[in-house]
Assembly symmetry: C2
Homo-oligomer: 416 residues x 2
Amino acid sequence: MAEYQPPRGMKDIVPDEMERRKWIYTNIRNVLDSYGYSEVATTELEMWDTLAAKAGEDNLGEVYDFKDKGDRRLALRFDLTCGIARMVAGMRTPKPIKLYAIGNAWRYDAPQKGRYRCFTQWDVELFGTDSTAADAEIISLSSDILKSLGLDFEVRINNRKLVENIFSYLKIDKKLYSGAMRTVDKIPKLSEYDILEEFKNAGISKSQAISLLEVLGRKGKPKDLILILRKEFKVDKKIQESIDTLENLFANLGKECILDLSIVRGIGYYTGIVFEAFDPKEEKLGSLFAGGRFDGLVGVYGKEDMPAVGVGGGIERLLEVMGQKNAFDNLKRPKSVFIAPINDNVRPYAKNVATSMRKNGFVTELDLTGRNLKKQFDYANKKGFSFVAVIGDKEEEEKCFMLRDMVSGKEKKMTL
Amino acid sequence: MAEYQPPRGMKDIVPDEMERRKWIYTNIRNVLDSYGYSEVATTELEMWDTLAAKAGEDNLGEVYDFKDKGDRRLALRFDLTCGIARMVAGMRTPKPIKLYAIGNAWRYDAPQKGRYRCFTQWDVELFGTDSTAADAEIISLSSDILKSLGLDFEVRINNRKLVENIFSYLKIDKKLYSGAMRTVDKIPKLSEYDILEEFKNAGISKSQAISLLEVLGRKGKPKDLILILRKEFKVDKKIQESIDTLENLFANLGKECILDLSIVRGIGYYTGIVFEAFDPKEEKLGSLFAGGRFDGLVGVYGKEDMPAVGVGGGIERLLEVMGQKNAFDNLKRPKSVFIAPINDNVRPYAKNVATSMRKNGFVTELDLTGRNLKKQFDYANKKGFSFVAVIGDKEEEEKCFMLRDMVSGKEKKMTL
């Protein structure tokens, strides 16, 4: 007997998990629809060139690519941003363009426990304005999504331009910026010693590295930190401008948002505001959402450059965090009734009862097996139905049925 | 300048189409949830062997398969039934098991206008009972889906066992059954001459072919047709049994259901009742849903055989039929409001107004660009907002705003 399984690193989504996912999807959609964003779905398969044009070199090794029967190099998308940026490059609609998607993405990496090669992301993109108000809206709606799911979190925000201007202030060579950025990204995760080592390997001098670690290791209330930075870099006009942007931004944000100078997001294409949200008590789970401004990407795919800011997050991580917090206990289950005909003669009448219960908003299952009443009750119990309606000849005659509450055991006579 | 496009035969789904799709998905889910079916999502990639175990030889050429980086032969699923049957073979839950899925499927065929290599299907499967009541439920819920979408249709139903028993009555060699089935399937589409040619090529004698064409070319009201068949094959017990099944089934179905003896569905794994739904006025578009009983498939994937009946349909076809009928005119759009701040100083107040309108159920977009009021109105007009709320210094002072109805032009003062 052969055994058939999903491919390694992939899994089926069973009814219980699907119910939880659908609850999450509905909350995400409700928030995004209320902000006037439109849902789209780009192709799950992309030409290799499309993905390669966006992905940093770091990511290309994990792309799930293959040659198809026509000998074309295709790939299963590794995120949703790429396809949306490609799509927008060809769209002719009034700006700003506000889009979102919920869909699968793939990576060809070594599967680990609880980590799959196919996962689901939500993704929101706002194209066509470089205003700080746009950055603020993206952060606000992301926060609203986590709030709608009942989660605690902190959004750590920074301006990549500020970090670049500090690099410049410290007279770091431009060629070393991207390597230095990758190290800054690791400040919260590695020891001071390791960070200094990494800066050294990236070509940064010891005194520069010590300065970077001191300045960029800071995080806290935006007002306080901005005051300190204003004083410290009084003479540097460009640094003051990047602080202006942050000040503007925080004026439009809630108190769950803090300034964290180590947030730069490793990925190369971010150009301004960047942010990541964490549950402070479950730091090790990783970010709940992350995003930032990427003003150069649409220009890669089309004739016209277009400023853009976006955010995305993983559904699997939300499932995990929410499971730990028993957040799904709030999941409303609709009333359900199992219709139990005692013989095949009353089936047409039982079917009418079922139709009527469905119209009244009950999830309604009609027994289809013809098994005896005891077995029908066993099944209804196991499946957790709220009510059972027994249908016999007498009920058919009187056009009624007995509705038994499976929790209280009480029965009530109902007419059709 | 490079141009980036989706791979040949694939397409992005833009906001307008997505809105229509979501309306269809919601209707399908509402019906299936009300019948007590649970949604699942199986993996989009399957091992080649899993698909090959189900697909008839006819279909294997169109499977979108490839070798991945690990040199494994994988394939993008060609339908949703296969993955669900594989999944159920490993499930331990009380029977019957009632599942559904809405998801993408792929075929590697020559792309044509309006036909894509990736398409979306809805699919419902009922496992664990061989009762005719189960067949009836699957047909009923499929009909309810089309009704919920406002479509006209006819369900053409047959029993494959009846056709096999007629083959046997006519003393056709068992080895010729599957070829003969494929020809029967074409009776409504080809001329009499071509059908007789096909039967001849399938090894059926001329007199057998003429009898088959005469009997299986019939369709009409179940009662009348069953009466005729009962008389015609009075002596054949097996044929009478297959007619019993049909009689039982039609007793539980609505008048949109007819008996059509040419419906056998080409695909090899069907074992009993089979059906297809058509819009009689748009016959050439093909079936709106199709399905049947397949009692042997789960046994292929697991230790235990399990009776099953299922149905599926294409979302793209529904979009096409419904587009032609202007059925999307019923699509309810939520009230929408565009918040227009006249300067950046009032932005925080404008943001509060936006939040409040969202809480009151409005799709609410806040201008993020800082453009002048005329341009803001132009944008709101182009995007079809129902209302515009202008926010100036006076409005902030008085904690109010003017709400302009974009259709009537009337204005109304609102307080926050």
